[in-house]
């Protein structure tokens, strides 16, 4: 409908549309001013998504916009249908239509008019053009600028008639840069040293010291953990524990070694594919194993396998490309020139990992890398050698036995045998070589069996054996075969029905519903599903292993007339149905794998026999054990399958060996269990590892894993530069392509991330979206200069930090006048220094550091500090899974830096979560910074902060002499890196005096306050005094300034 309106527009309405613009507008920048209007209001119907495009018109590309004559007429808005439609006074004719929910403002309409009248110049979206190093702009206040960053910022300020702020006070600056580069507050001695250092390069020296600190790597890693969606649990459903901290350690180390960003990228995307990849490079590839992993009972593996790939696409494209590829999951992107095909082609790079759709029941999901310590490796070696020694002893004993057995003849059980399928590469019945079973459908083949050859029902093969096995329910019969079930539980093994399982009559042997050990069901149906007999074995067969099954029926028409033997042993059965009203004749065809008759067999079958009599236990044993063992023994040692060798060994140890030999076997098993248990204690980390043969990748229609569209090859989005023609299409090529200087996005995106870390907001505010719906850069010249400079300096990450924190822009005071606040509330122009609340981790780390409680150990497994009781338990699944109950750490682990706090995705650590730390379910490019009453409650009452206040008070008493104002001043200074003013000191002293008298009167209350937390007090003094200082210290820890980077 809207399409027709657009095309049938009548020119007579022109006179109605008069621009309201008063002055001639300045030169319009299409990319900044016009594209965002079009993108936000028009692209849904006139954008890149062809399927939902109206009137064949689209404004996402130049070709599209100018393809129809008269839509945009450069220099003549009065004859441009685009303008006429958006400015149309008739609501029915106006674009965008009311039902779209979009509406242009008069100012936007004027902009469109002005743009057309100025010639309708089209520009490609800035972010898709590679950055070119801009010229340094001329500025008036040349002396202010310390480095090129300042020139770009100052040029803008001068244009806006704004003055930068003077440099922040030394103490403020030291605290700011120390948090920014290490995540920690400066110590009193660092503060003193800096305040006393009058040399012109005093600040540079501080920056160098901080950049060399091992805590620098931690601080840099902190932001990266959000991109990487790092967590210590799997995230979906049961949300049990995983172990990815070795990857986190790698990350901290990479920053501390100042690994160039291109290498850093390549190792995380494809470290495993590097030639002769080191252990460290393999660990690095865990970046894309940090996604959530599922194993909910009953979930469908393909569905989640697909989600993992989608998560990798989203995390990789958000982190490195700053584009929202995720929007193209279900359809072509609505705003950016990204096709759905681009999304899945990108996903194809990540679709060949040797992983499972459902995994993680017991910790890490495959593939993972074991990381034994030297001692562990040594221990494991010893275990392996001891096992080898035992093997040698058993080998010798077994060889001796074999020697004696070699010529024992095989006596077949042939009496009453009516059909015998050996599956020796033929479907013929050995007794009647002319009767050959037929493959009806599916892929059927022959393969190595337990003893000889076997039938392989791998891919829904349906085989019809004709009238083999026609019996009578009133007469005895038996069926025997080897089975290796490889499919879902609940499969039918063989079925013999006249019509169908529902109408009967007939019989079948099937596997019951199970997890690992599946019971055998034998069913003889009369007519319909409710007459007949059915029995079920009480113990079952293992999936993915060979078992011999004999079903012997005595013809009684009773359920207990059916006997089931597994591996020659008579197993107990339970009756399910016992209603054989009249005997039936069991006619029809024997079938295996008929999909219409139930879940078809997936697995292998060998030596299928039918007898017209009931087999006895000794005969079942002969078929299952005696004869097969004898047959295998006739195979020369070197020609036996691995399975046969193992089987013989087990048989020998169980049924042949003398007590001494048996003991060796038991010892060997004990050693092996020890090794397995030991393996579980060895740390591991999930990594990327390719399948030998890549999986096929398809476009998924509407993003649904069940709807395959076209097959796609690994490729990068068409809007970006192509991959080198002859490079292999794998992750390593993708990684190298990302950091190729020709890539217009990657360097800009990363410098923007760092900028965001320092200034709270990136030069591009939407750091996750550089596309046409993202915010335009506040200072594109600066962004482009930083990006090109970063590449020019060979991706020197530490150098980039130095450049930013030594700029005059960064060093400004953060005070703001009401006028400036109104003009630039978000500080996009940078006429002042950054001021915002510390990130969640630093709020807590600051309290731990200034109180002296902090354990600043770097790296290692995550820890579990104080947390209110029951938080996990009341939401958890429970059972034997890990991370269902919170076992709090003790001792120094209570005071580790917050980045090491155990990150449970479904119940995030409450005090970090309250300060906007994400749950890490998805890649997060920027956190919010909220200001809530719950934050006040955490700082007031969380035992972490109450204990820190007490420890801070003790520190004041121990380290700041004996006078009260001196102690309070010291506590204030520790928390804020500055001396309190007389006014501030007065407020705190007043509080101290009041509370001292209160606690003196109520010593029990003082005792209670001092007993919060597990750390022991370190000073001996009047409890009332310490309690009063604790309260003053808590007040200091609650101050806005304390939790803020000023």
């Amino acid at each position: 409908m809207p399409a027709r309106y657009f095309l049938s527009f009548s020119i007579s309405l022109i006179s109605c549309s008069v621009s309201l613009a008063a002055a001639p507008p300045a030169a319009i920048n299409f990319d900044r001013q016009i594209r965002p209007i079009l993108s936000d209001n028009c692209f849904t119907c006139h954008g890149p998504d062809e399927k939902h495009r109206m009137a064949g018109l689209h404004f996402d590309t130049k070709e599209g916009a100018f393809s129809k004559e008269g839509v945009i007429v450069g220099g003549d808005s009065a004859h441009s249908r685009m303008y006429l439609r958006v400015s149309n006074p008739n609501e029915a004719m106006r674009m965008p239509p009311a039902y779209s929910g979009h509406k242009l403002t008069p100012a936007q309409i004027d902009l469109i008019k002005a743009w057309i009248d100025q010639g309708a110049k089209w520009e490609t979206h800035w972010a898709f053009l590679p950055p070119v190093p801009p010229e340094l702009p001329e500025v008036t206040a040349k002396n202010w600028a310390r480095n090129p960053i300042d020139r770009f910022v100052l040029a803008k300020l001068e244009k806006e008639n704004l003055q930068p702020q003077p440099e922040a006070a030394k103490a403020v600056l030291l605290r700011r840069v120390t948090f920014d580069l290490t995540g920690l507050p400066p110590t009193p001695s660092e503060l003193k040293a800096f305040l006393n250092d009058q040399s012109p390069n005093a600040y540079q020296k501080v920056v160098d010291r901080l950049l060399a600190s091992p805590h620098y790597g931690e601080r840099m890693a902190m932001q990266w953990l959000d991109f990487a969606r790092y967590a210590d649990t799997h995230g979906y459903h049961i949300d049990s524990a995983r172990e990815m901290w070795p990857w986190r350690d790698w990350l901290i180390g990479a920053f501390n070694q100042n690994m160039p960003y291109d290498e850093f990228t390549i190792e995380q995307i494809a470290g495993d594919l590097l030639p002769d990849a080191t252990q460290s490079q393999k660990i690095a590839s865990g970046f894309n194993r940090n996604h959530m992993i599922n194993f909910e009972g009953g979930a469908i593996p393909e569905e989640y396998q697909n989600e993992y790939i989608i998560d990798r696409i989203e995390a990789t494209s958000t982190t490195w490309l700053g584009i929202t590829l995720g929007c193209a999951r279900c359809h072509d992107h609505k705003y950016d020139p990204l096709r759905q095909k681009d999304f899945y082609s990108f996903g194809a790079f990540f679709n060949s990992i040797d992983e499972k759709g459902l995994d993680g029941y017991k910790g890490n999901a495959v593939p993972f890398l074991q990381l034994p310590t030297d001692a562990q490796a040594h221990m494991k070696q010893q275990l392996l050698e001891a096992i080898k020694d035992k093997d040698k002893e058993i080998d010798a004993a077994e060889a001796q036995w074999e020697q004696q057995q070699r010529n024992v003849p095989v006596l077949d059980v042939s009496s009453g045998l009516v059909a015998d399928y050996a599956f020796d590469d033929s479907l013929a019945n050995r007794l009647q070589p002319d009767t050959v079973a037929k493959v009806v459908s599916g892929k059927f083949s022959f393969t190595q069996g337990r003893v000889h050859r076997a039938a392989d029902f791998a891919e829904e093969a349906n085989v019809n054996f004709g009238n083999t096995g026609e019996f009578d329910s009133a007469k005895p019969f038996s069926i025997a075969f080897w089975l290796k079930p490889e499919g879902p539980s609940g499969m039918a093994i063989l079925q013999h029905y006249e019509q169908s399982p529902k109408s009967g009559p007939g019989y079948e042997v099937a596997l019951d519903y199970c997890k690992e050990n599946c019971n055998i069901i034998v069913r003889i149906r009369a007519n319909g599903t409710d007459t007949g007999i059915e029995t079920r074995s009480v113990q079952g067969v293992e999936l993915d292993d060979w078992s011999h099954i004999t079903v012997a029926y005595d013809g009684s028409g009773k359920a207990n007339g059916i006997q089931i033997f597994i591996n020659g042993h008579d197993v107990k059965t339970s009756t399910v149905l016992d209603r054989m009203t009249t005997p039936v004749s069991l006619k029809g065809d024997l079938q295996i794998g008929n999909k219409d008759w139930g879940t078809p067999l997936k697995g292998k079958l060998e030596d299928l026999r039918f007898y017209n009599r009931r087999l006895y236990a000794s005969e079942a044993n002969q078929l299952a054990v005696v004869n097969p063992i004898a047959s295998v023994l006739q195979i020369p040692t070197g020609k036996r399958s691995e399975d046969q060798t193992k089987w013989l060994r087990a048989y020998f140890l169980k049924d042949v060996a003398n007590p001494a030999e048996k003991q060796v076997g038991i010892d060997r098993a004990t050693l092996n269990r020890g090794k397995e248990q030991f393996d579980r204690e060895i740390d591991s980390t999930m990594v990327m590892k390719e399948l030998p043969k890549p999986r096929d990748t398809f476009v998924l229609l509407r993003g649904d894993y069940r709807n395959h569209g076209d097959k796609v090859e690994p490729n990068t989005p068409g809007i970006l530069p192509p991959l080198p023609k002859d490079a292999p299409r794998n992750r390593l090529t993708l990684a190298k392509w990302l950091v190729d200087p020709a890539n217009p996005l990657v360097a800009r995106v990363v410098v923007n991330h760092f900028w965001q870390m320092y200034f709270g907001i990136g030069l591009v505010k939407t750091s996750e979206d550089f596309g046409s719906q993202g915010d335009p850069p506040a200072n594109q010249d600066l962004l482009d200069w930083l990006a090109t400079e970063f590449v020019r300096t060979k991706w020197d990450v530490r150098g980039l930090q130095r450049l930013i924190v030594t700029s005059a822009v960064y060093r400004q005071a953060s005070t703001v006048s009401p006028e400036l606040l109104e003009r630039d509330p978000e500080n996009r122009l940078l006429a002042r220094g950054p001021r915002f609340r510390l990130p969640a981790e630093m709020v807590r780390d600051n309290a731990l550091a200034v109180s002296g409680l902090m354990n600043d150990k770097i790296g290692g497994a995550s820890v579990r500090p104080y947390q209110p009781k029951g938080l996990w338990e009341e939401m958890a699944f429970g059972g034997d899974f890990s991370a269902q109950t919170y076992e709090q750490s003790h001792g120094s682990d209570l005071y580790r830096r917050s980045m090491y706090t155990f990150w449970k995705r479904t119940v995030p650590y409450p005090s970090l979560n309250t300060f906007d730390a994400p749950d890490r379910e998805k890649c997060t490019a920027r956190r919010g910074t909220t200001n809530t009453p719950l934050q006040a409650l955490v700082l007031m009452n969380d035992p972490t902060f109450v204990e820190a206040a007490r420890a801070l008070a003790e520190r004041e008493i121990k380290e700041a002499g004996s006078d009260e104002p001196g102690r309070i001043r010291y506590g204030f200074m520790l928390a804020t890196a500055r001396e309190p003013s007389a006014n501030e000191l007065g407020i705190l002293q007043g509080l101290y005096q009041k509370e001292l008298s209160h606690y003196t009167k109520d010593p029990a209350a003082a005792q209670k306050l001092l007993s919060v937390g597990e750390s022991k007090g370190t000073v001996k003094c009047d409890p009332a005094e310490l309690a009063a200082y604790t309260l003053v210290s808590s007040t200091i820890l609650n101050m806005d300034e304390t939790i803020t980077k000023n």
């Binding site: 469908i300 519903y513 995030p908 409650l937 407020i987 209670k1008 806005d1040 300034e1041």
Partner: protein
Amino acid sequence: MNPVRERELSLTRRQLFGNASKGIGVAALASLLNRKLFADESAVGGLADLPHFAPKAKRVIYLHQSGAPSQIELFDYKPKLAGIAGTELPDSVRQGQRITGMTSGQNSLPIAPSIFKFNRAGASGTWISELLPHTAKIVDDIAIIKTVNTDAINHDPAITFIQTGFMQPGRPSMGSWVTYGLGSENQNLPAFVVLLSQANALNRDQPLFTRLWSSGFLPSKYQGVRFRASGDPVLFLANPGGIDAETRRSMLDAVAELNQVTEKSYGDPEIATRISQYEMAYRMQSSVPELTDLSKEPDSTFELYGPDSRKAGTYAANCLMARRLAERGVRFIQLYHRGWDQHNDLPRDLALQCGGTDQASAALVTDLKQRGLLDDTLVVWGGEFGRTVYCQGHLTKDNYGRDHHPRCFAMWFAGGGFKPGITIGETDDFSYNVTADPVPIHDVQATVLHCLGIDHTRLTYKFQGRHFRLTDVAGVVNQKVLA
């Protein structure tokens, strides 16, 4: 409110409390004051253009029954199943629909009729299970939809879908959207409160996740705040041992004064906000205990909600708490009750679940109605999907289980603009397929928002370049259920 004025007011209030506290409970007075004196300032936050039209409901109480209660035993009466017990689910009914990995391997899918009886109830003559005698009594006050359907067949994606409009994590929950759009009606309590209760069934599955009440990409202040039955009702609400209310007040006064000094030197408006957030925290320290203290409720209340309502943390106690929260103008009250996942031993466990919830759910509706709150409070009851007509595991005469069924399930709604005493939607004889009036999850969400005066297509948030909404790209307001 202007934070400076806020603080002045709080000082004034304190003077009042200082004088009054000798006679009347400070908390009670605070509660009265905030409701009456500051009524004109009651709406805090919210979007300027909201509500989009006159709302019927001001708030929502969502009683989520986690694990998925069986519609076949409770609301979707299928008398014909009795005659075909144990027979196979016809292929013509299943139509090749996917089933979970828990029963896909099952050799047979035998029909299991409800072991529980149904009776007609109310003036509407609605068929309802004998397991729900109390719900039967309010049946003329509720609208039952028998044809809600979902796309997910496992708990994690299904519960994430019904709570956030999308099966994968990352989107804001319904409560977050509503409070983001409409703000708070209360100055002393969070606008979005979450209450959990544990299973009555012996099999306690399934787990819950904070993502169900998370704010996703909305600012984190819109996430639900858990009220807990043990420990602090709100995390870190209580002062530590050794800090009494007076000491806390002195300390907060010092914090406020110090923050005012900082505000003067930096001019950052965040500081003023922080000052007011500390005041709100202080008010919560009295308003929350007052809220959770049930000692003033008369015996008749506990009789209405049942004996469990005296035990903190039970579903019944949470229903009562929900009413108290609604009275205080909390915008979105989200309950979760665990234990509805009856894969096996359904007759035993479903009866236990109903025994633990039926009376309280009905009492809540009755109580709200008596207090005149049902007109502007919408009560929602339901799970994340339904259960299969066929048996999971062994079917015997008196025991069976049911697997997950996404294609139809029942929810009910009371008050807040829903038409009372109606049943919407028809399913086939197997409670397997919808035969009339399907109501997809997004329609449920669109309809709930509609009752709150929100056009679900216009409550959006731009994230990653896209205008996201609760109903993703779908959702139609269901007019049939609206009064």
